[in-house]
């Protein structure tokens, strides 16, 4: 029991152990709720909800009416859970920093490549996230919703998506890191 508790307190688990945990969560999600784990769809549901309230005309289209209907869906609640799960994870490994200076930009490798300024990280995060969400909208899911959830049901789309993701990811990393690759 003590070894288990000690293992939970470790900051980085073996990826195999964490992977087994995620696999089990995926099974339970299909078994109990008949749903797939996904993150990007929930943001679109929320965006649709806000959009319909603020600018109903602009959001009255095929996408937000039929493909991604707005509302508090199962996925939105799941995302709330993800937030708290991550919080618990950080708390157990004692890396949780409330409002400390630099806690928003504490990654040494990031600082080495892009510079120490925190605002740079916010800007890059913002525009990178737009790319991510837009791409997830085109592909029909993100890493969790399409690559992992689709992959475990052996959907071809998932493997096409993983191939594309790694192809351009490697290329982008090559461009950013150049000689240090």
């Amino acid at each position: 029991m003590k070894t288990i508790l000690k293992y939970i307190g470790k900051e980085i688990w073996s990826p195999y152990v964490a992977g087994i945990l995620l696999g089990l969560v995926g099974i339970v999600a299909v078994w109990v709720s008949n749903s797939l784990l996904g993150a990007s769809g929930a943001f679109e549901n929320l965006a649709g909800l806000i959009g319909k309230a603020v600018a109903p005309a602009a959001f009255d289209n095929m996408y937000f009416n039929f493909i991604m209907p707005p509302g508090i869906t199962w996925g939105v609640i799941l995302l709330v859970g993800v937030f708290f799960g991550g919080l618990i994870g950080a708390a157990t490994s004692k890396t949780l920093k409330w409002g400390k200076k630099d806690s928003a930009n504490s990654d040494a490798q990031w600082k080495r490549i892009f510079g120490p300024q925190t605002w740079k990280r916010w800007v890059l995060g913002f525009f990178g996230a737009i790319l991510l969400e837009y791409a997830a909208g085109i592909a029909g899911g993100c890493t969790s919703g399409l690559a992992i959830s689709g992959g475990m049901l052996l959907v071809p789309a998932a493997f096409l998506f993983i191939a594309g993701m790694f192809g351009s990811g490697i290329l982008t990393a090559l461009i950013i890191y150049r000689k240090q690759y």
Binding site: Y16, G19, L24, G26, W31, G85, Y134, G164, M165
Partner: protein, 92 residues
């Protein structure tokens, strides 16, 4: 009730991601540099466990699969290509 399950499953999901270190920028980008294979190990382990579990359970008639994500080759591939750029930039 379904929402309670979603909340519990979500927290385990977030917990697993956090413990695998996937909430860190360097883990994600180092996967693309092939200096740290944690992302691939994590994803593939989850895939294998869930594949065996789900297909086994379907064989026993315990589960019916939900609507699967649609396959449209150009869209999936183009989405993946854009997604990779964002992933390497932000470390999502």
């Amino acid at each position: 009730m379904n929402y309670v399950i979603a909340l519990i499953l979500g927290s385990f999901f977030g917990f697993a991601l956090n413990k695998a270190g996937l909430t860190k920028y360097n883990k994600i980008v180092n996967q693309f540099r092939f200096t740290d294979m944690a992302v691939l190990k994590f994803m593939m382990t989850a895939l294998v466990v869930a594949m065996i579990g789900l297909y086994g359970m379907r064989g026993l008639g315990l589960v019916t699969f939900p609507t699967v994500p649609a396959t449209y080759i150009v869209g999936n591939l183009a989405g993946g290509l854009i997604f990779g750029v964002g992933m390497a930039l932000t470390g999502y």
